[in-house]
């Protein structure tokens, strides 16, 4: 892959935006790419988890004799014999890694049970098979305590979410309730969405090796850096004594962003046994120990004048946290930004349940919030007798509706125009049940997509060698977004070198710190620093008297330098802290000034079987306003991926938590229905490619925006096909009978 002949001139075409093939394409299509579970170590042992089967209480006895007797078992760790762990710290703004703790439970250091599924013992054995066999033989008796696990029953008692620096629990403009009462045209609807799980095909896995007080972990993580700090804290060792390695991660979608029991317990087991331990979670263990998306109930009330002008927009939500942790979802976030309503009220409420903490899952908040908002807008359009796109365009704001801030960039109108034309929206007859194809009822629906854009600190080191190669060092994570590929494109353009000569090394905490792969911010954040580094390098080259036509390598050759290195950001403890503080203040200032978001318009066509209610998505066009696109190929894939996940959420996905005892009953890919090939039609993606003037290279994150609006578009299309409004996800066929 590395080009050896240095080029001598720099006149070349830009590669940013081009559909460059992934740099790891061959590794992934030949089976060479190694994921966490595929690393080994001499003297390796294997672990398996034992889960609590009550939702709250205390362990009164734990009998490990049968388990210990299984041939090959090294030890069975319980709260009786496990080494001490420090408790996770409360979230503090000066150390953002404190946000990474999955739960507050100090695993195996307590006899308390906080949810059905909490790991209460770990078996370590010479083989994974023996560990699993033994885990099934651990017998536990509990003294149970009363628990609250039923979201539907508890939801009416939800409490308002408090505002903090990062997230608003409520916001208002004007008097939305009064405006709603006075509005001549209105809709007031209640929506529900179920708990969901990420279900990355790669299950969580960890391999932990101690060398004295130094810990090395291979982990399927989305956040190398946070994991490193977290492990250091829990084991009471300096951060520099921990190394985290994650070259390839088999999908995360938020599920690998926090640090969950499996990772911590693997390191704990390795410490206890003095041997390297590997734990690959079973699919069931993933469900029981890793949080998923919270369920929600939502109310959207819209008031409008007869011409369609929104006078009132009210959006309230209830979601849940675990009593042991979790973060609120910004369910009403988009409702502050999408429509120029004269009065706005949003409020988020929370309940705490005895379940594992909820976790961020692709576009936490907006994925489900846009469902309720966009379905309500469609209902209002029908009340008004207006085309749903026309209603949206009529209320398209000039400034951020909630606070009048300037938009950094907003081309939603254009996105709708382009999308409508590609999709053939004009051919739609608005009357429900008016379109058919043979026996199938055909329906078309639209919805807007919205996700806020952010940046984070990223440190990079760039080294130019005299052979013309450029090495980028950055501790970023690659879960399939094509990060290494797109950053190579950024460096290639910035330095005027061929993309093949750039190599990006990532996925290791010994590399400069980068943000986790979450919040759709990794690409822009890293590109931001990478650009700065490349500029630094250019300046150095200029100092060395580089002439305009001279290639970077030629300068080094002329000067007799083997290489030239620059860095952005400092990876010392103080440097990192300073970086974070600098970032926080910049972030807050920037936030005060601009409203930045990725936006889009979804167009979908569904077919509904009038006999059975089966729904098939038959066509999809999505038109995005996502700033500059770095790589047409990987960006399109990522945007499609969100739509596929959204189709699953709209039509089939649901984690079944038994309200009687808080136990997840479908911890299986056979019974939790993610979309299969046959569910997904060809998806037409288009984007405007208008750079965001306030972001590095004009980039806006694209990892999450495309799942937002999907469920709304489908619900709207189903209404168009059948005349039925289904406000509870998933829209399974029984709801259409």
């Amino acid at each position: 892959m590395t080009q050896t002949l240095p080029e001598t001139t720099t006149t070349r075409e830009s590669v940013v935006g081009k559909p460059v093939d992934r740099v790891d394409g061959t590794a992934k299509t030949t089976g060479e790419a190694r994921f966490t579970a595929e690393f080994s170590h001499p003297d390796l042992t294997h672990a398996a988890l034992v889960h609590a089967t009550v939702s709250r209480g205390r362990i009164t006895a734990i009998d490990t004799s049968a388990a210990s007797a299984v041939p090959g078992v090294v030890t069975v760790l319980t709260h009786h014999n496990a080494p001490a762990l420090k408790s996770p710290r409360k979230v503090t703004p000066t150390d953002l890694s404190t946000m990474a703790s999955g739960t507050s439970v100090n695993y195996l250091n307590t006899d308390e049970v906080h949810w059905d599924g909490q790991p209460i013992a770990v078996v370590v054995a010479e083989s994974a098979l023996a560990a699993r066999e033994a885990a099934a033989l651990v017998r536990v008796t509990y003294e149970t305590a009363e628990s609250t696990v039923d979201f539907t029953a508890e939801e009416p008692a939800a409490k308002p979410q408090k505002n903090n620096l990062v997230m608003q629990g409520s916001a208002k403009k004007g008097d939305a309730e009064a405006a709603f009462t006075a509005a001549p045209v209105k809709v007031d609807r209640r929506f529900t969405t179920p708990p969901l799980h990420h279900n990355a095909i790669e299950p969580h896995a960890t391999l932990a090796v101690w060398d004295g007080d130094r810990l090395t972990v291979h982990d399927a993580t989305q956040s190398i850096d946070w994991l490193r700090s977290h492990l250091a804290l829990r084991f009471g060792i300096p951060t520099r004594s921990v190394r985290v390695i994650a070259p390839f991660v088999g999908g995360g979608f938020g599920g690998k962003g926090f640090i969950w029991a499996g990772t911590i317990l693997t390191a704990l087991a390795a410490r206890a046994t003095g041997r390297p331990v590997r734990l690959v979670l079973t699919r069931e263990s993933v469900y029981r120990t890793v949080g998923g998306r919270t369920p929600s109930t939502q109310r959207v009330a819209l008031g409008a004048r007869t011409d369609g002008t929104l006078t009132s927009l009210i959006h309230t939500s209830v979601t849940r946290l675990g009593r042991v942790g979790g973060t609120p979802e910004a369910v009403t976030s988009q409702s502050k930004h999408l429509y120029a309503a004269e009065n706005i009220l949003v409020r988020q409420n929370l309940v705490e349940l005895d379940l594992v903490s909820n976790a961020a899952m692709r576009a936490p908040g907006e994925a489900i919030g846009t469902f309720a908002l966009e379905a309500s807008i469609d209902e209002l359009a029908y009340e008004l007798g207006m085309d749903p796109i026309e209603l949206r365009m009529h209320n398209e704001p000039e400034r951020n509706p909630i606070d009048g801030k300037q938009f950094a960039r907003r081309h939603l109108r254009e996105a709708y125009r382009v999308g409508a034309e590609r999709f053939g929206w004009a051919d739609r007859t608005p009357e429900p049940r008016s379109m058919r194809d043979g026996r199938w009822l055909v329906g078309m629906g639209v919805a807007s997509a919205f996700h806020p854009s952010m940046l984070f600190v990223a440190n990079v080191v760039v080294r130019l060698s005299v052979d013309g190669t450029v090495l980028v060092h950055c501790g970023l994570q690659e879960m399939g977004m094509g990060s290494a590929t797109v950053q190579a494109q950024v460096a290639a353009d910035a330095l005027g070198v061929p993309v093949e000569s750039v190599r990006v090394e990532y996925g290791d905490s010994t590399l400069p710190m980068a943000p986790g792969a979450g919040g759709s911010m990794q690409t822009a954040s890293v590109a931001n620093s990478l650009l700065a580094a490349c500029e630094k390098l250019e300046r150095k080259l200029t100092k060395l008297g580089r002439s305009p036509q001279e290639s970077p390598a030629a300068v080094l050759a002329r000067e007799g330098l083997p290489s030239l290195e620059v860095s952005v950001g400092s990876d010392t403890r103080l440097g990192r802290m300073a970086g974070q503080l600098r970032f926080m203040s910049k972030f807050l200032m920037d936030q005060r000034r601009w409203m930045k978001a990725a936006l889009g318009a979804h167009f979908c066509e569904v077919r509904v079987d009038p006999d059975t209610g089966e729904v098939r998505v038959s066509r999809w066009t999505a038109s995005f306003d996502v700033g500059r696109v770095l790589n047409a190929k990987t960006a399109t894939s990522q945007l499609k991926g969100g739509i596929v996940m959204g189709i699953g959420m709209a039509l089939a996905e649901q984690t079944l938590i038994d309200p009687r005892n808080g136990r997840i009953m479908n911890p299986s890919l056979a019974e939790y229905h993610v979309p299969v090939h046959a569910d997904i039609p060809p998806i037409d993606i288009t984007y405007l490619d208008e750079p965001d003037p306030t972001m590095p290279l004009g980039l806006v994150g694209i990892g999450e925006v495309s799942i937002t609006g999907v469920a709304g578009a489908i619900a709207n299309a189903i209404h168009h096909a059948t005349g039925k409004r289904i406000r509870d996800l998933p829209i399974t066929l029984d709801k259409l009978l």
């Binding site: 089976g31 595929e38 095909i201 088999g250 399939g480 991926g641 997904i680």
Partner: protein, 160 residues
């Protein structure tokens, strides 16, 4: 323990393993052939797809002992135009389902050639491997990254 001879990618491998060991674990843990992935261990995702005597199977629900004597082909033993086509059409993101998708597609193309019908055969597509045919026939391979379009395009290109 049982003495088992597995034939994988054209080579014989004598193994001393317990009868509980799945073909998937035998490949990954005992033979170091980690290209084949474990997504569920429940027969529900297809990440573990390999070819046994040319036919695609889920190696997680196969006991290794049962496949003694069968010609097993894993991704490491595959050299097929599909692989480059997957890269061209971006038929993956994280790459975790990819080995299974490719092995499955290789098996699927052979099945189709031999006249194996599918649940959508006869619904207007004739013997041509239409998009609908590919999607139904590949539905045993989940991709949570949602790279389905690229996978189907890659297969279509190779199937001609």
């Amino acid at each position: 323990m049982a003495e088992v001879r597995l034939r994988v990618n054209g080579a014989d491998h004598p193994l001393d393993i317990q009868p509980q060991v799945s073909l998937l674990d035998a490949l990954r843990e005992h033979l170091g052939l980690t290209g084949t992935k474990k997504g569920c261990d429940q027969g529900a995702c297809g990440a573990c797809t390999v070819l046994a005597d040319g036919e695609r199977i889920n190696s997680c629900l196969a006991l290794a002992v049962q496949y003694e004597g069968a010609e097993i082909t894993t991704i490491e033993g595959i050299d097929h135009p599909l692989q480059a086509a997957f890269v061209r059409h971006d038929g993956f993101q994280c790459g975790y389902c990819t080995s299974g998708q490719i092995c499955s597609a290789v098996g699927m193309l052979a099945e189709h050639k031999e006249g194996m019908p599918s649940a959508v055969t006869g619904q207007g597509s004739g013997s041509h491997l239409s998009g609908a045919e590919i999607r139904e026939r590949m539905s045993g391979n989940l991709c949570r990254c949602g790279a389905y379009n690229g996978i189907v395009e890659a297969i279509q290109e190779v199937a001609g």
